[in-house]
Symmetry: C2
Subunit: 339 residues, 2 copies
């Protein structure tokens, strides 16, 4: 699939979805759309992901050079920025499909729906969960695959990245591994999945279970993308639904070096790493024997490798399990205990 | 408000909502509709709730004798039984409002919507959450009121009943107490509330917090209706959202005597009572210092009072806190530690 990725005025630092797709998806990235950095290339900013030219808009691309327009950014609130309308319109007129993770559903936009019908295109709003979801039956543990779930001390500590790095490296090592995507970036990278934070509360675990059952007998390892944290004042229900719904065998605890309070909720301190391990394992236990067997520490905030190595070692000590910064030091130590 | 309560073919044993309304709501029950037991009275079956005649249908009532039709039962799946259509139609033609907790939204039924418009009636689907909900800000702990939450070892162990009994008896003892309803029966009894199991997963805690903030400075005690269980394979996200969203001060652990496995999920054993106390308190702690201070044991399955008393005493020992069967032995011992 040849994709153009919309990231106006936000590439690269505030375009998490665009970067995730460039880093992990199998898609052939034809261009990034960013009117602010147009004329440069992805590699001018980020060296270790798929390279592509940056252009100002869809009309800079040839109609037959691209299959799909991906919305690679999300403004606060998840609304649609009307300054993107021309790009979406052009994409549909080119016959491209459009994939979006916005809370504003493009398929329900009258102009876009009409153009999609006229040009035979599909608009896929990945934040819009399927309407045939149901409650969990508590049977995810019956699949053949080993289920490995990333859990976190907070939001934005690297659960999606860790999941993708582990799955890719496991495959490279010859294992049959699949990703279970639970959020918009994971869904865009993998091309399928349920947006767990948007499903009806009662179906949170069921929407995860359904995915485990769909893939669990076709692979040896499932790497489940975790969300939030078990003690997050707002998002803990999503976290617990994924933990109980996946009935994971192994947990990888993700943390950011030096983070001490919950992001955006600074009056709430993070408990100790040991407390997180106990909480995740004890709340899982009546449903599944899930064990924290490894850790992933995001050390992006630490400049030199020596300090990062030290932080990772301290983290491994606190966990009582192997740890790594998966981007900085790779996944070998983790895969040794996971696969 | 003068209400008729629809409970066709299910009154009283399979009409939990109808019974809850008869037991706890301030409404004046004009009649129960049940074509199977028509001609008898509520008191022929249930002695300790509001009495009312049982009739076969709305057309047996005078148009000016009733203000509201309440759907007091829910078939598995929450669909609308077409054999109820005549009653709903008649109610709307009488000018009655209709309140329903079905998953099938009556306000979206073409015939009912038309009749409601013609006759100036309101159709209120209490399972349809408001669309202005949002994520929790983690501030429920700032309200003046003491927040008391019922939590459970499983579904259907008596959390709604315990909440209502405690709030009613606290008021009778002179305290300023309000109920925070989180499920369909509680919402029908109280006439307001958010159906937490139906809100978007991300908003689970936020939908509870919103209600606490709305009432928390106007009362001394808020009794929050809990849902599910923290280790339920399907519903645990709803439970955790209410726990973290309410930032409760005190927890009342509800349990049913002799229940050993999760209802409908019999391969999952209930952990020990001590484990439940530890799990609820430890998972709450990073967000709020919630403590299990009392227990409510449902002994409806035990015939004689002596065995029930013994079961309650054993339960109190296991908890290390006062306990009661609130219907059998009252709430005095609990209110002593709660208010």
């Amino acid at each position: 699939m040849r994709v153009a990725i919309l990231a106006h005025e936000k590439f690269p630092s505030r375009a998490k979805t665009a970067l995730g797709v460039l880093r992990y998806a199998d898609h052939d990235a034809v261009a990034v759309l960013d009117r602010e950095t147009a004329g440069r290339r992805v590699s001018d900013f980020v060296p270790d992901v798929q390279d592509a030219p940056i252009v100002a808009g869809m009309s800079d691309l040839e109609p037959d050079a691209v299959d799909t327009l991906l919305i690679g950014i999300a403004p606060i609130g998840g609304g649609f920025d009307e300054r993107w309308r021309e790009d979406v319109r052009t994409a549909l007129e080119y016959g491209c499909d459009v994939i979006s993770g916005l809370h504003y559903f493009l398929a329900e936009d009258e102009e876009f729906a009409g153009l999609a019908a006229d040009h035979g295109c599909e608009i896929r709003d990945v934040r819009n969960p399927p309407d045939d979801l149901s409650v969990s039956e508590g049977v995810a543990g019956e699949v053949d695959a080993d289920v490995i779930l990333t859990v976190g001390t907070d939001c934005s500590v690297g659960k999606m990245t860790t999941t993708m790095e582990l799955a890719r490296d496991a495959r490279a090592a010859g294992h049959d591994a699949a990703v279970i995507p639970t959020g918009q970036t994971g869904i865009m990278i993998e091309g399928w999945g349920n947006p767990i934070d948007r499903v009806v509360s009662d179906f949170t675990a069921g929407a995860v279970e359904e995915m485990i059952l769909e893939k669990g007998d076709d692979h040896d390892y499932l790497f489940v993308e975790g969300q939030g944290s078990i003690v997050h004042p707002a998002y803990s229900p999503v976290t617990l639904g994924i933990l109980h719904g996946s009935m994971a065998d192994s947990l990888v605890l993700c943390h950011e070096a030096d983070r001490e309070s919950i992001h955006g909720y600074e009056s709430f301190s993070l408990p100790s790493i040991r407390t997180y391990v106990d909480l995740y394992e004890s709340i899982a236990a009546p449903v599944a024997e899930s064990e924290v067997v490894a850790g992933a520490l995001n050390t992006a905030g630490l400049e030199d490798d020596e300090a990062a190595r030290e932080a990772v070692d301290d983290y491994a000590d606190a966990l009582g399990a192997p740890a790594s910064d998966v981007l900085r030091f790779g996944t070998d130590d983790l895969l040794e205990v996971l696969c």
